[in-house]
C-alpha cells in the first residue's frame, strides 16, 4: 500500500478523498477546484491502478443554451434589475442605464419580478421601482435561477425541489437552458481504493520535482520525492531528422566510396555538347529520342565550351575517328551549345574523362538529379536521381564489365542470382543490362553498362578502355521506404516525414 501511495500523482491525491463523498464526475470536478481534464486524467490513472472503478451511463441532463451561457457570466436580466433596484429606487430609464439591459429584457424582468413580488412600484411623476423584503432575501440567498445556471449541467433525475422550480421557470424562456442526453461518468472507490483514500499517509507532503535549490540547500534529504506513473503517455516532441530518401542516397554514396569510387559532379544546366554530342550521339538520330530534353529559355547557348574539343567531336561525328566511319552528316556547332537540363548522369563522364585530373586506373561515380521531358505520374517524376559512373584502366574488357555488374548485384541487391543480357546505349559498344533477383522484390533491371565507344574516347584523349555504368535503384529505394508512388520520394507531408522509421 505504501508503494502505491508513494507513486500517486498530485492530481490523484486530490481526487481520491473526494471519491469518498461523491461519485458523479461533475460533482467531483465542482468540489475539487480542479479542471475537468485533470480530474479525468486522475480517474484514468486511478482506474489503471485498480483503486477506482469508472462507470459510464446515459442520463438526461439540463444544460445551458445560448443565452444561458451569456447570463451565467453576466447574470440573469431580472437579477441584474433587482440588484440595481436594491441599491435605491430607480425609474425604468435609470435602471436601463445602470444595468445595460435592453428595453425587452427590462420589460421581461419587470413582469417576472412583479409576479414573484420581489419588486414594488411607487407612482410619482415617473414610475419608480423599489425592492421588496422578499426581494432582498431572494437576492441574499443567491437567486435560485442564477444558482441553477451556475450548477448546470445537472442530472434531471437528481434535482432538488428548488432546482426543479428554477428549471421550470427558465425552460419557458428563450434559449436559456435545454435538455439533452449525456454520457455520465461515475467513479467508485474499490476496496483497495477505500483503504488508501482513508489513509493518513495520503495527506503527507510529497515533492514532485527535484530542484536545484533542494540540492544546494540539502533539503532533498527530508523531501519525499514521489514515484511516477512510469507507463503514462507523454506529449510528443518533434526532433531533427534526415529525409528518408536522402538518407538512402547517402548510404548509396557511402557504399560507392567504400568500394573505391571517386565522386564527380557537373552542372544541372548543361549543353547538348556534354549531354549528348561528346557521347558520340548523332544530333539528328532516333538514338536521341529517349533523351527528350527540357530546353532553357534564356540564355540559349553555352559560352564556355572547349573549342578544341568541340572541333574534335565534330570531326568524329562527321568523318569518324579511331577506325570508325562516323555518322556522316553536318555537325551543327550552334546546336551543340544549346543549353538544356541534363537528361542523364552520363553528361558528367566526358567532363571528367577530358579533365587533367583524370586518374588511371580510376573508378568514378555520380549521384545527380536529371530531367526528362515526360508526363509526370506515379512512375515518372520531372526530377529524378541517376546513379552512374565509369571505370578506366589498362586491359579492361567485357569480362571485367560483367564482374562489375556482379558486384553491383551483391552490394545493392544482396543477391548472386543475376542475368546479364545485351543492351543498347548510343555511346557504348558492347552494351549490357543487368537483371538481379532481389530477395524480396524479385527480378529487377538493376544496371545498364557498356564500354565507351572509341569514337567518343578518341576526341576526349583517353586511350584506355572505359567501362561505363548506370545503376537504377529507384525500385529498391521505393521498396525500402515502403512507397508506391514515385512522387512520394519528394514528399512534403510532415506527418509522413516525422513518422518515417529510421532504418
Amino acid at each position: 500500500m505504501k508503494s502505491v501511495i508513494a507513486g500517486l500523482h498530485r492530481l490523484e491525491r486530490e481526487v481520491l478523498p473526494l471519491l469518498q463523498k461523491y461519485s458523479g464526475f461533475e460533482d467531483v470536478v465542482r468540489n475539487s477546484g480542479m479542471q475537468a481534464v485533470e480530474v479525468m486524467r486522475a480517474l484514468q490513472w486511478l482506474r489503471g491502478k485498480a483503486l477506482v472503478e469508472v462507470k459510464e451511463k446515459l442520463v438526461e441532463v439540463v444544460e445551458l443554451d445560448k443565452n444561458g451561457r451569456v447570463y451565467r457570466e453576466k447574470g440573469l436580466p431580472e437579477k441584474r434589475f433587482l440588484h440595481a433596484a436594491s441599491l435605491k429606487p430607480l425609474s425604468l430609464s435609470q435602471l436601463i442605464k445602470t444595468t445595460g439591459l435592453s428595453a425587452d429584457e427590462a420589460n421581461v424582468s419587470i413582469g417576472l419580478l412583479k409576479r414573484k413580488a420581489l419588486i414594488g412600484m411607487i407612482n410619482g411623476r415617473e414610475l419608480v421601482f423599489e425592492i421588496t423584503e422578499k426581494g432582498k432575501s431572494e437576492l441574499k440567498s443567491g437567486f435560485s435561477e442564477q444558482a441553477l445556471l451556475r450548477e448546470c449541467p445537472l442530472e434531471l433525475g437528481r434535482l432538488s425541489e428548488k432546482q426543479k422550480e428554477a428549471v421550470q421557470n427558465l425552460s419557458i424562456r428563450k434559449s436559456i437552458i435545454k435538455k439533452s442526453v449525456k454520457r455520465s461518468v461515475a467513479a467508485f472507490l474499490t476496496k483497495k481504493g477505500k483503504r488508501i483514500a482513508a489513509s493518513s499517509e495520503l495527506k503527507e507532503k510529497v515533492v514532485d520535482r527535484l530542484t536545484s535549490e533542494m540540492l544546494k540547500s540539502g533539503s532533498w534529504k527530508q523531501a519525499n520525492l514521489r514515484g511516477y506513473e512510469l507507463r503514462a503517455p507523454v506529449p510528443r516532441i518533434f526532433f531533427g531528422k534526415k529525409q528518408p530518401y536522402r538518407r538512402f542516397l547517402e548510404e548509396v554514396r557511402a557504399k560507392f566510396v567504400a568500394l573505391g569510387f571517386k565522386e564527380m559532379n557537373g552542372p544541372v544546366v548543361e549543353s547538348e555538347f556534354w549531354d549528348m554530342d561528346a557521347l558520340f550521339m548523332p544530333q539528328d538520330h532516333s538514338a536521341r529520342d529517349i533523351h527528350a530534353a527540357y530546353y532553357v529559355k534564356e540564355p540559349k547557348y553555352a559560352t564556355d565550351l572547349p573549342k578544341e574539343l568541340v572541333a574534335k567531336v565534330k570531326h568524329a561525328h562527321e568523318k569518324g575517328v579511331a577506325g570508325s566511319k562516323g555518322w556522316r552528316y553536318d555537325f551543327d556547332v550552334k546546336k551543340t551549345a544549346r543549353l538544356i537540363l541534363r537528361t542523364h548522369d552520363t553528361s558528367i563522364s566526358p567532363r571528367t574523362l577530358s579533365s587533367k585530373e583524370l586518374e588511371i586506373p580510376g573508378k568514378y561515380f555520380h549521384i545527380v538529379r536529371c530531367f526528362r521531358y515526360d508526363v509526370i505520374d506515379a512512375t515518372h517524376n520531372a526530377d529524378f536521381d541517376q546513379i552512374g559512373g565509369f571505370v578506366v584502366g589498362d586491359g579492361l574488357n567485357l569480362r571485367h564489365l560483367f564482374g562489375l555488374l556482379r558486384m553491383f548485384a551483391e552490394e545493392f541487391c544482396e543477391t548472386d542470382k543475376i542475368k546479364v543480357v545485351p543492351s543498347y546505349f548510343p555511346f557504348t559498344e558492347p552494351s549490357a543490362a543487368l537483371y538481379a533477383k532481389h530477395p524480396e522484390i524479385g527480378w529487377i533491371e538493376l544496371a545498364g553498362s557498356g564500354i565507351f565507344r572509341p569514337e567518343m574516347m578518341k576526341p576526349l584523349g583517353v586511350d584506355k578502355p572505359v567501362i561505363a555504368w548506370g545503376i537504377g535503384l529507384g525500385r529498391v529505394a521505393m521498396f525500402k521506404l515502403g512507397l508506391k508512388d514515385i512522387r512520394q520520394l519528394y514528399s512534403h507531408d510532415l506527418e509522413y516525414l516525422r513518422n518515417e522509421k529510421v532504418l
Binding site: K242, H285, T303, V421
Partner: protein
C-alpha cells in the same frame, strides 16, 4: 523504344520451326535486345519491345525471323536477296534538291496481299518513318498499287496551289497547300515543309499524282488494297544512305516472304542510281581486337561461325555486312555481335583488380556538415524537386527578379523553372502542413540555379524555416549563430529591403565583403499568399560561397 506486334504463328512459319513463346522471349533478350511485352493466346498475337533504336531491320516479323534463323543455324551468312532488273524509271527534277533531295524505289510482285500482311507492311513503314525516319523528316515511305501507275514517274516540285489531287481518305481534290491545312496528316507532318515555296510531288507520266511526300498519298494510285499483287515501294528523304537502308530493309523483308523484287532506275540527270542499292560494305577486324574488347580468345573458325549466325559473311577477318544494316560504324559493332552470338551467358566475369581510393566531392562533404548542424538544431529535413514555378518562386514571395532559369518547352506549369532560392520551397512545405502539429521546423539543403546575364550559376544552399505561435527574428538568428559559429565564419547583418520580410525584420547576411544569405521574419502579406496562419522565420545561406570563404 520501338514496339511491334505480329502473329506468332506467322513468325514460326517464317522461322520454319516451332518454338514456345516463353523460349522466344528468353532468346529475344539474349539476341535481339528486346523483350516480349505481351502474348494474346486467343488471337495468337505477340508484342515485342526493342531497346535498340539503331537496328531498324529487326522491327518486322520478317527481320526477327531472319535473326532467329541465324541463331538456330538454319541459315548462316548474308541471306539471299535477288533483285530482278526492272524496266522502270523515276525522273528526278533538280528542284527537289532544295526540299527533299533523295528518292529510292522498287517494284514487288508475286502473291496477293492479305489483310494481315498489309498491316505488317504498314507497321514496318510507320516504325521506319517515325523512329528511324525522325517522324518522316529524314525518311518517309510510300506504297502504291502498281497497276494504276504509268511509268516513268516524275519526282518534282510544284507551287503550293499549282495542282490538285484527291488525298487518301478524302473525296475531293485539294491543292498541296490545302492538304497541309485540311488533311489530318497535313496538319501532323506539314511542319516538315514549313518555309518551302515549292512542295515535292510524285506524279506519273499521265499526270496522275502519286503522292505529296512526306505527307500523303493520292487516293487513286496511293491506295493499297487487299488482293493487290503488284506494288511500288518508294522512299524519299534528306539522307541518301538512310533511304537506301529503308529500301533494303523493305526489299529483304518482302523477298524473305517470297516476293519478286524489281529494281527501279532513279534518273537524277547527271547521275543514275539503280535501287535497291546494295552497299556491299566490308570491314576488316582482327583477333586481337576481339580479345581486347571481350576478353575472349576465340578460334578463327569459331569467329566465322558466330558471325555467320549473326548474318555476316567472313573471309580472312574481312567481314561483309548485310545490305539491311547501317549500324556498323566501327569494328567494335561487329565484335559486339560476336559476343552476343557467343552468348553473354557463356562469358565468365573477371574481378576489377585495380586499387583505387574512394571519396565524395568536397562540396557534398561540406553540405553534409551543414545538414548535420540543421538536424542538431531540431529541424526536419525536406527533399524537393529542383524544378518549380514562378508563382512559388516569386509571386507568392512578393519578390521578383530572383534570376529564374526558365524552361522553354514546359510539360506542366508546376515545373517550369529551376528554383532560384529555397525559402519559397520551405514556405510551400509549411503551407501543405497547416493542419499538422506545431512547432514546425524544416530545412532543405540543395541546389539552386541563378541566371546572371549570359551565365547560369549553380549553388548549393541551406534553408531553415520555423513556424509556431512565437517564432521571431531572435529564434532564427540563434540558428544562424549556431551554423556560422560551427563553421567559424564571422558574419554581419545589413538591413534588407526584400519584400518577403517584415520591414525592419529582414537582413542580408554578409561575410568577408560577400553576400552569403538572407534572414528574417516573413511578412504577413506573404504568409497570407501562402494561406498560412502562423508566423514564420527563415534563413537561407549559400554553402558554395561559405565553403570558398573557409578554404
Amino acid at each position: 523504344m520501338p514496339a511491334i506486334s505480329f502473329s506468332y504463328k506467322d513468325f514460326q512459319d517464317l522461322l520454319g520451326k516451332k518454338l514456345p513463346v516463353s523460349e522466344f522471349g528468353e532468346l529475344l533478350t539474349l539476341y535481339a535486345k528486346g523483350e516480349v511485352d505481351g502474348y494474346d493466346k486467343k488471337t495468337g498475337e505477340v508484342k515485342v519491345d526493342f531497346d535498340d533504336t539503331n537496328l531498324p531491320y529487326l522491327w518486322s516479323v520478317e527481320g526477327l525471323a531472319r535473326l532467329f534463323r541465324g541463331v538456330f543455324k538454319t541459315h548462316l551468312g548474308i541471306p539471299e536477296l535477288k533483285i530482278n532488273r526492272g524496266n522502270y524509271r523515276i525522273v528526278v527534277d533538280p528542284s527537289v534538291k532544295k526540299v527533299r533531295p533523295f528518292i529510292s524505289s522498287f517494284v514487288f510482285k508475286g502473291k496477293p496481299i492479305t489483310g494481315y500482311f498489309l498491316k505488317q507492311l504498314i507497321q514496318l513503314q510507320e516504325k521506319l518513318d517515325e523512329s528511324y525516319g525522325r517522324k518522316r523528316k529524314k525518311v518517309s515511305i510510300g506504297l502504291y498499287s502498281y497497276k494504276r501507275i504509268n511509268f516513268p514517274i516524275h519526282y518534282t516540285t510544284k507551287a503550293p496551289d499549282e495542282i490538285k489531287f484527291v488525298p487518301l481518305e478524302f473525296s475531293k481534290a485539294l491543292t498541296p497547300a490545302e492538304i497541309l491545312e485540311q488533311h489530318p496528316k497535313g496538319r501532323e507532318y506539314g511542319g516538315i515543309l514549313k518555309g518551302v515555296n515549292r512542295y515535292p510531288i510524285l506524279i506519273d507520266n499521265k499526270k496522275n499524282v502519286l503522292s505529296l511526300p512526306p505527307i500523303i498519298n493520292s487516293n487513286f494510285t496511293g491506295k493499297v488494297e487487299t488482293g493487290d499483287t503488284d506494288l511500288l515501294f518508294e522512299v524519299t528523304g534528306t539522307d541518301e544512305k538512310a533511304i537506301y537502308l529503308a529500301t533494303n530493309i523493305f526489299a529483304q523483308a518482302l523477298y524473305d516472304r517470297g516476293y519478286k523484287i524489281y529494281s527501279v532506275n532513279i534518273d537524277y540527270g547527271s547521275k543514275k542510281v539503280r535501287t535497291p542499292y546494295i552497299f556491299n560494305e566490308k570491314i576488316r577486324i582482327n583477333r586481337d581486337q576481339i580479345k581486347q574488347l571481350t576478353g575472349l580468345d576465340i578460334k578463327t573458325s569459331d569467329v566465322k561461325q558466330l558471325l555467320m549466325k549473326a548474318g555476316y559473311e567472313f573471309k580472312n577477318y574481312v567481314v561483309s555486312i548485310p545490305p539491311y544494316r547501317a549500324d556498323i560504324l566501327h569494328q567494335f559493332d561487329i565484335i559486339e555481335d560476336i559476343a552476343i552470338m557467343y552468348g553473354f551467358d557463356n562469358i565468365e566475369s573477371a574481378p576489377l583488380e585495380s586499387y583505387t581510393i574512394g571519396s565524395a566531392t568536397e562540396m557534398n562533404r561540406f553540405a553534409d556538415k551543414a545538414r548535420e548542424i540543421a538536424i542538431g538544431l531540431g529541424f526536419q529535413e525536406i527533399l524537393s524537386p529542383i524544378l518549380s514555378n514562378k508563382v512559388v518562386m516569386e509571386e507568392k514571395m512578393e519578390t521578383f527578379g530572383t534570376g529564374l532559369v526558365e524552361i522553354e518547352n514546359i510539360m506542366s506549369d508546376t515545373f517550369s523553372v529551376i528554383r532560384s532560392w529555397l525559402t519559397p520551397v520551405m514556405m510551400e512545405v509549411l503551407s501543405k502542413n497547416k493542419h499538422r502539429d506545431f512547432p514546425q521546423r524544416v530545412f532543405e539543403q540543395g541546389l539552386v540555379n541563378i541566371r546572371k546575364g549570359n551565365r547560369i550559376v549553380g549553388m548549393e544552399v541551406l534553408a531553415l524555416a520555423i513556424s509556431h505561435t512565437k517564432t521571431d527574428f531572435t529564434e532564427i538568428k540563434q540558428c544562424l549563430d549556431a551554423v556560422m559559429g560551427s563553421f567559424g565564419v564571422n558574419y554581419s547583418l545589413e538591413a534588407s529591403d526584400l519584400k518577403a520580410f517584415i520591414d525592419g525584420r529582414g537582413a542580408k547576411i554578409k561575410a568577408y565583403g560577400k553576400e552569403i544569405g538572407i534572414i528574417g521574419e516573413i511578412s504577413p502579406k506573404v504568409l497570407v499568399n501562402w494561406e498560412l496562419e502562423m508566423p514564420v522565420s527563415v534563413l537561407e545561406i549559400d554553402l558554395t560561397e561559405i565553403k570558398n570563404i573557409i578554404s
